[in-house]
Every structure is written in structure tokens, then in C-alpha cells.
């Protein structure tokens, strides 16, 4: 237990250090962007630009701005957005992150679940038509960009069949169905491919032979031993992918007119909205380091060979 505490204490410390470095590097890189955050920049005179910049503290040396920002960060103040005048970045993120999280989460669950099933079937029925089909779908899902799926799904299931709304975001699960499926294609393809490869590997190993020799059925062995072992590399893959999906996809959000966070990130960079760039970057990286930590913890749960005690203890 002591080992455990010491190990995770250290991990959290490293996480904070990572976040600090990301914030610092982003801050200085971002200041290299040409232009100003003012939308009307091309019509402003030099004198007015100076007044505006003075007002927002943009005339101060970058290092002064940096310490001011970091100071604010310690008190949880992420600044005020330029695109949405007067709106604190925390408020903007809070109002936008919900739909992205929901769709991303649904997509990861759906995609991974179907992917695992597809991968297991492919591995169990190696070189059969099911295998070919699963591989084909995986390649298709990986190589066709998700905005093509998004547009196709919209055309077929909303415009033609009218099963779901075309776009927009209202209360009700139905608005999230098509965007979820569009986003789920990538995790589905990836996990199917991974599970198949891993399963084929695992199924050929000695302990599976042993389990089979003990009289367990093929499918029981596959699920009890095969899937469990194949999950480890998959989790490494799914973790960061979940973060990417939950922080929003610009195209999918744009096609379905969803008030998510994905598009805000791109737009904040294009419009030099410094506080929002920082806010979204920090949100993204925090989620990423937390997920990585969780993934590491999950390793231990899934595979007893990778427990910390055996790592830390000599």
C-alpha cells in the first residue's frame, strides 16, 4: 500500500509538471501567431490598435503576460474570451464541453464494443468470409474520413429515411445518434484490427493450448483468456483516442451543427483568441494525462503481471 501511495504520488507530481510545461510552451508558441485577436483588425488605425491592446494588457512584454496568466491559472482564472466578449473561458468551456463529451463517450463505447465483437469473430473464424468482411470494414473505417460518413449518414438516415433529425442539438437522445455513429467508425475499425491481431497471437500461445487441454470450449477460452490478454494493447490505444473523441471533432460538430468544443479550438487559433487557445489546450492535456494514468491503473487490473508492487518492489 505504501508503495502504491508513493508511486501514484509521484505520478500525480509528474502530471502537474507535464501540464505546467504544456501550458508554458503553448503560451510562448501562441504569441508567435501573427496578428491580433481583434476581428475588425483591418479597419483599425495604429493608434486604436494600441489603445485596444493596452486595454487587454497585450502591450506588456510576453514574459509579464506569461506570469500574469500563470498567476491567474493558480486561482482557477482562465481569462476572458476574445471571440465571445465578456465571457469567461471557464464558462465558454463549461457550456460547450457537454455535447462533445456525450457524443465522444457514446462513440468510444459503441465503437469499442462493436470493434471487439468484430475482432473476436474475425480471429476465431480466421480466413473465413467473416474474417474478410471484418478486415474489409476495418480498412474502410480507417481510410474513409469521418466527415464522409457523417454526410452519408445524414443523407440516408435523416434526409431519406427520416429516422433521425438532420442536424441541430435539442434535448433528446435522437439528435446524438448520427454524430455518435459517425465518430464511432474510427474506434470500431481500430479496435477490430487490434483485437484480431492480438487474439490470433494469444490463441496460438501455450497456455491457451493448456486451457483447451483442460477441456474448456473454444469460445470459453477465447473470452476467458484470449480477450483479456488482447485488451491490454487495445487500452493503450483507446485511452488517447477517447480523449480525442471527447474533446470534439470539428467536422462532425460542424456537419450536425452541435454546440461542441471541437470547432472552438480551431476557431480560437484562427482568431488569435489567446485565453481560449490556452483553455482548450489545458482541458485537452489534463484529460489526456488523467486518462493515461487511468490506463496504467487498468493494466494492473487486467493483467496481474503488470502490478506496481512487482515493479517497485525489488
Amino acid at each position: 500500500m505504501k508503495n502504491f501511495m508513493r508511486y501514484y504520488g509521484k505520478r500525480v507530481l509528474y502530471m502537474l509538471l507535464t501540464l505546467f510545461l504544456i501550458a508554458s510552451i503553448t503560451f510562448f508558441l501562441m504569441n508567435l501567431l501573427p496578428g491580433t485577436p481583434f476581428t475588425n483588425e483591418d479597419k483599425l488605425s495604429e493608434a486604436q490598435l494600441l489603445i485596444m491592446q493596452e486595454q487587454y494588457g497585450l502591450n506588456d512584454p510576453v514574459i509579464v503576460q506569461y506570469f500574469r496568466y500563470m498567476g491567474g491559472l493558480l486561482t482557477g482564472n482562465l481569462g476572458v474570451s476574445f471571440q465571445f466578449d465578456n465571457t469567461p473561458v471557464t464558462e465558454l468551456l463549461a457550456s460547450r464541453v457537454g455535447p462533445s463529451l456525450q457524443i465522444g463517450f457514446q462513440a468510444v463505447i459503441l465503437g469499442t464494443f462493436l470493434g471487439i465483437i468484430l475482432g473476436v469473430i474475425a480471429a476465431m473464424k480466421q480466413n473465413s468470409w467473416a474474417d474478410t468482411l471484418a478486415t474489409f470494414m476495418a480498412i474502410l473505417g480507417r481510410s474513409i474520413p469521418n466527415f464522409v460518413f457523417a454526410v452519408l449518414l445524414q443523407l440516408v438516415f435523416a434526409v431519406q429515411l427520416q429516422w433521425f433529425p438532420i442536424a441541430l442539438w435539442d434535448d433528446g437522445f435522437s439528435y446524438s445518434v448520427l454524430p455518435t455513429i459517425a465518430l464511432a467508425i474510427a474506434p470500431l475499425a481500430d479496435s477490430a484490427r487490434f483485437i484480431r491481431t492480438e487474439m490470433v497471437d494469444v490463441l496460438g500461445s501455450d497456455y491457451i493450448e493448456l486451457a483447451r487441454a483442460k477441456g474448456l470450449s473454444r469460445w470459453a477460452v477465447a473470452f476467458k483468456h484470449g480477450v483479456r490478454n488482447a485488451l491490454i494493447p487495445l487500452i493503450t490505444l483507446i485511452g488517447p483516442m477517447a480523449v480525442a473523441l471527447m474533446t470534439g471533432s470539428m467536422v462532425v460538430e460542424s456537419i450536425y451543427a452541435i454546440p461542441g468544443i471541437g470547432e472552438q479550438f480551431i476557431k480560437s487559433i484562427q482568431s488569435n483568441d489567446y485565453p481560449t487557445i490556452m483553455g482548450v489546450t489545458l482541458l485537452y492535456s489534463t484529460m489526456l494525462v488523467v486518462i493515461i494514468l487511468i490506463v496504467d491503473m487498468l493494466y494492473g487490473l487486467i493483467d496481474p503481471r503488470i502490478r506496481i508492487s512487482s515493479k517497485g518492489g525489488k
Binding site: 476581428t39 466578449d85 438532420i166
Partner: protein, 554 residues
């Protein structure tokens, strides 16, 4: 035989699916117009969120559109883009020198909380606009117009010293810095809207952060806007002084950024009106619902005459003329833009301003000043090359890195290089912000640039190329031109003479090919046949819905 039957079955199934979905379309369309019989509802699309509803600091099209319909200034733009009285009870009394305007505000004008609209609401809003602490990006609209605004903007005077005073509750006296011929046009714009001082002060930084933290004095009231969201609604205001003119009960607005999605929503009857981009227009050609909506934005080539302290080849007038006449504008709007935009042969857009006596469109009066004429261009080109003592010139053409801009520049490159032997054009497509930086550093040769009118007067376009104007950024300088502009900037005594000056200024700019006009932008718009009376404007907000209605007979 068997497979034939199968095919038949599939065919029937597919057909019925298509039919069913077509029926669905039909019925949803009917439902919306049926519902409209008791309730007039207009369903619209915006392509961007509302960044803020604070009229002193906002700059974008979405918020302008809402502000113009939920609030009202002293004037508003009418259905024909004419000036109509808004909060002003009648035309103001203007002093002899044209420097003092006295407005009476309508007795019956009230805010949505019941407070009367007072002279102080205007004074307060305009002081906020000029206060450097507000950091308004549109403060330049009041700069040099209302007395002391310039000094207040740079912090030399207090906002309370602004030349706008409330004589009593309903009497507003405005003193100007100098006579401003287009002053009344300015008063239709969102930054000159009134704000209720007690309310704004009470809410502090929460003011205008959502639809519940705003007051309205216009034809509609904003509801269901959460401050950053993708939808909002405008409902008819009962407290508006002219409420009986307003026929729409409700306007639903959704933000849809993707044109293909908007088109699907339009086809399904979920949306009554939308703008389209070029590639989608071709799919709707010949459709009676496809309309063209002109804008005041004119696009042109800026010719940089001095780069890095050295004169460029474009400092030579013959070279400039040659370039300006060597690209086919009609071909450009027809094949590249495809959205109804029209070739421009002058700087001032069509439909913007009309002569004080002739009442004729500025564009019609000045006509085509700099058109496509490849043979003439070749003569200028050869003369220019001879004057420069060279037989080849390389120029860099600067533009945005959008798909549209890239295609535009490629077209221009091909046109210019084929019409002018010895000319090499290198393209540089950069992000918008980088282009602006290159422009202000005069680090380019030719630049694809554009300007949209801030207010309805030709001076707004022409003064850009006055020597020393911050927007000039091209080294164009002509004493005669400067004199004409200067006189037109403040001449209110003889509006006809001023008009002549303005006409002459553009002629001069075109004769010397200081810039090369390319096109005036239009939007391709889809509008359901039952939508009537939406007023589209060239300056300020794009639309007024005060006179719009749903025609149930369509």
C-alpha cells in the same frame, strides 16, 4: 427469372422508401405553412454564433442582425435602404453651421422593462462607445464625428465631455467635431443604439451576457440565447411603438456552419431562407427560389508602389493600367465565383449612394471607369516596359489561403501572364492575419483586397486612398485626389458640389489606376416562396424583419 423477381421486389421496396420519404418532406413543409396561419414564424440560419449583444463592442454580422431587429436607434434603414425615423420623433433641427443636431425622442418609445427611452440613453451609450476602457473595435465610427470623441478615445478627455447632451428626458443635442454629411446614416448602425444607463450599470459585467440580461426597444425581443449557444429566438415586442406594422410573431434562428447541412434543412422545410456558396449554387440553377442578394463589398487589386524603400514596377502608371485592364472580370465572376457577383469597373459599389439632386446611383453616374481591355492594356504594357527599360517583370501576388482565394489568384495569374508578355506572377497565399500584416508593412506587389461599406456614403471607400490614410498601404498618393477627398469629408453646405467632388475623385483614382477593381460581391440566397418583405441592407446589419411576413397563399 428468379433473380428478376428479386430485383423487382428490391425495386418496389426502394421506390416506396423514396416515396415515403418524399411524402414526409411534403407533409413537414405543409405543417409549417399551416401552423403559420395562426402564428407567423420565420425560420432562419446564421453561420456564426453571437459573440456579444453589447452594442458598444460588437462587430460581427450575427449580432448586428439581432441588434438591428431587437433595438432601434434614432433612425433605421427602411425597406428600400432609405432612412426612416426610429426613436427620433421627427427630423432633427440642424444649426446653420451643420455642427449641432437637436433630436426629439418619441414620447411613446419605451424599453421592454417599461422605462421610457430617454435622451440620456443615447448619451450614455455613446460615451461608453468612446471610452477607451470599453475598448470598442467600432469606436472609430464615432472618432472625428461627435465632438471630443477623438480626444476621449486616446484618454485626453473624460467620456463625460462628449458632445452629446440630454437637454431634457426627450431632447438630445449632439455637437459634431466638424460637419459630417453622412451623420444620419451613421445613426442607423448598431454602435449608435441607445443603452439604458440604470440597467447596464446595475448588471455590470453580466450585462448582455444572455437574452435575460438585455433590454429591448425594437420590433422584436431576443429570447432563449444563452450567451454562447447555437440558437436563439426573436419574438414580437408588444411594447414597440410601431408594433402594429410588425407581422411576424416569432423568428427562430439556428447556427449552421456547413452549407450542405443547411441545404438539407432547407429542402426538408426546417429552414425558410439560407445563403449558399458557389459550388452549391450550380445544383439550384433555374430554381425560382434561388435569389441574388447584392452586398456593398467590393474586391480589388491593391498596387504597391513602394516596397522595402524601393519603387516597384507598379509605381509606373502605364504598368498599373496594363495590369488593371488585362483580366476578364466577367469570366471571373461567371466561372470562379458563380454566386451572382458582378464585375466592378469602379471602387464604389452599386446601390450604395445616390446623388443629392440627381438621385442617381453613384455607380451609374460614374459608369465603367476601368474595364477589361486586353488590346489597350498591351499598349500601356509596352509603353511601360520601355519607360522602365526592361522586357520582363516579376510581381508577387498576395491573397488569403482560403480555397476561394487560391482559385481566384490562379485565375488572375493565368489571365495576366497570357495577356502581358514578359510578366511573371508569383502567388503567395497566406492566412488572413498574415495578409493584413504584410499589407500594413507594404510587403507585397499586388494584393487581392476587399472593403465592405461601414455607412452609405462613397467617402467610406474613397478616403482609403488619401495619402497617409492607415488603410492606404500602397503608396498611392495624388495631391489633386487628396484635395477632393478633404473637401468632401466636411462639405455640408453644398451637397451637390460635394457629390461632384466624389465623382471626380473616383475618376482620378481609376484614370491613374491607383487600384484595379475586380468585382462587387453578391450572395446566392435560397428563399421559400411564402417568405415576403425581408429588407436586405448594404451597410450595418444585413437584414430587417420589421416588414417581413409569411404569405399563406403561396
Amino acid at each position: 427469372m428468379k433473380s428478376n423477381k428479386l430485383m423487382q421486389k428490391i425495386g418496389i421496396a426502394l421506390t416506396s422508401v423514396l416515396l415515403l420519404s418524399a411524402c414526409g418532406n411534403e407533409s413537414s413543409g405543409n405543417a409549417s405553412s399551416d401552423g403559420a396561419q395562426d402564428k407567423q414564424v420565420l425560420k432562419l440560419i446564421e453561420t456564426a454564433e453571437i459573440p456579444t449583444m453589447d452594442s458598444a463592442i460588437t462587430t460581427d454580422a450575427s449580432s448586428f442582425n439581432v441588434l438591428n431587429n431587437v433595438n432601434e436607434g434614432l433612425y433605421r434603414q427602411g425597406p428600400e435602404n432609405n432612412l426612416v425615423l426610429g426613436m427620433a420623433a421627427e427630423e432633427p433641427a440642424v444649426s446653420e453651421d451643420g455642427m449641432t443636431y437637436t433630436f426629439n425622442i418619441k414620447e411613446e418609445a419605451v424599453w421592454s422593462n417599461g422605462d421610457p427611452v430617454t435622451a440620456n440613453d443615447f448619451v450614455f451609450a455613446w460615451q461608453r462607445l468612446s471610452d477607451p476602457e470599453t475598448a470598442s473595435e467600432y469606436s472609430y465610427m464615432i472618432d472625428g464625428v461627435v465632438k471630443n470623441a477623438s480626444a476621449i478615445l486616446v484618454g485626453d478627455k473624460e467620456p463625460s465631455e462628449l458632445g452629446a447632451k440630454a437637454i431634457d428626458d426627450k431632447t438630445l443635442e449632439v455637437q459634431l467635431e466638424k460637419p459630417v454629411p453622412y451623420f444620419k446614416d451613421l445613426l442607423t448602425l448598431p454602435m449608435f443604439l441607445p443603452q439604458n444607463e440604470a440597467y447596464v450599470t446595475e448588471l455590470g459585467s453580466d450585462y448582455a451576457s444572455n437574452s435575460d440580461s438585455l433590454l429591448y426597444n425594437g420590433p422584436f425581443e431576443l429570447t432563449e440565447w444563452d450567451g454562447t449557444g447555437l440558437k436563439w429566438t426573436m419574438v414580437k415586442s408588444d411594447s414597440y411603438w410601431d408594433a402594429e406594422t410588425v407581422q411576424l410573431d416569432q423568428i427562430d434562428v439556428n447556427v449552421v456552419k456547413e452549407t450542405s447541412t443547411a441545404l438539407n434543412l432547407y429542402n426538408a422545410g426546417d429552414v425558410d431562407r439560407m445563403r449558399m456558396t458557389g459550388e452549391y449554387v450550380t445544383t439550384k440553377l433555374g430554381d425560382p427560389e434561388l435569389l441574388t442578394e447584392p452586398t456593398s463589398s467590393v474586391f480589388f487589386f491593391k498596387f504597391n508602389q513602394e516596397r522595402n524603400g524601393e519603387k516597384t514596377a507598379l509605381a509606373n502608371e502605364n504598368i498599373r493600367k496594363a495590369v488593371a485592364m488585362s483580366f476578364d472580370k466577367q469570366g471571373f465572376t461567371d466561372t470562379i465565383l458563380q454566386n451572382g457577383s458582378v464585375p466592378a469597373n469602379g471602387l464604389v459599389p452599386e446601390g450604395l449612394a445616390f446623388g443629392p439632386e440627381s438621385n442617381e446611383d453613384y455607380r451609374a453616374e460614374n459608369g465603367d471607369l476601368l474595364s477589361y481591355a486586353p488590346e489597350e492594356a498591351l499598349e500601356y504594357w509596352e509603353a511601360g516596359l520601355e519607360e522602365l527599360g526592361t522586357d520582363s517583370i516579376t510581381l508577387e501576388m498576395l491573397g488569403d489561403d482560403t480555397e476561394n482565394s487560391k482559385r481566384s489568384l490562379e485565375y488572375m495569374q493565368a489571365q495576366l501572364e497570357s495577356n502581358l508578355p514578359g510578366l511573371t506572377i508569383n502567388l503567395r497565399n497566406v492566412p488572413f492575419k498574415v495578409r493584413l500584416a504584410s499589407s500594413s508593412a507594404q510587403d507585397y506587389d499586388i494584393q487581392l483586397s476587399g472593403w465592405g461599406a461601414d455607412y452609405a456614403d462613397p467617402i467610406n471607400f474613397l478616403e482609403m486612398f488619401q495619402s497617409g490614410n492607415p488603410n492606404n498601404q500602397s503608396g498611392f498618393s495624388n495631391e489633386e485626389y487628396d484635395a477632393l477627398i478633404e473637401s468632401a469629408q466636411s462639405n455640408v453646405d453644398d451637397l451637390d458640389a460635394r457629390w461632384q467632388d466624389l465623382l471626380e475623385a473616383e475618376q482620378l483614382l481609376m484614370e491613374t489606376a491607383g487600384i484595379a477593381p475586380i468585382y462587387q460581391r453578391s450572395y446566392a440566397v435560397l428563399e421559400k416562396p411564402y417568405v415576403e418583405g425581408i429588407a436586405a441592407h448594404l451597410t450595418g446589419a444585413d437584414y430587417s424583419y420589421k416588414w417581413a411576413f409569411i404569405d399563406n397563399d403561396e
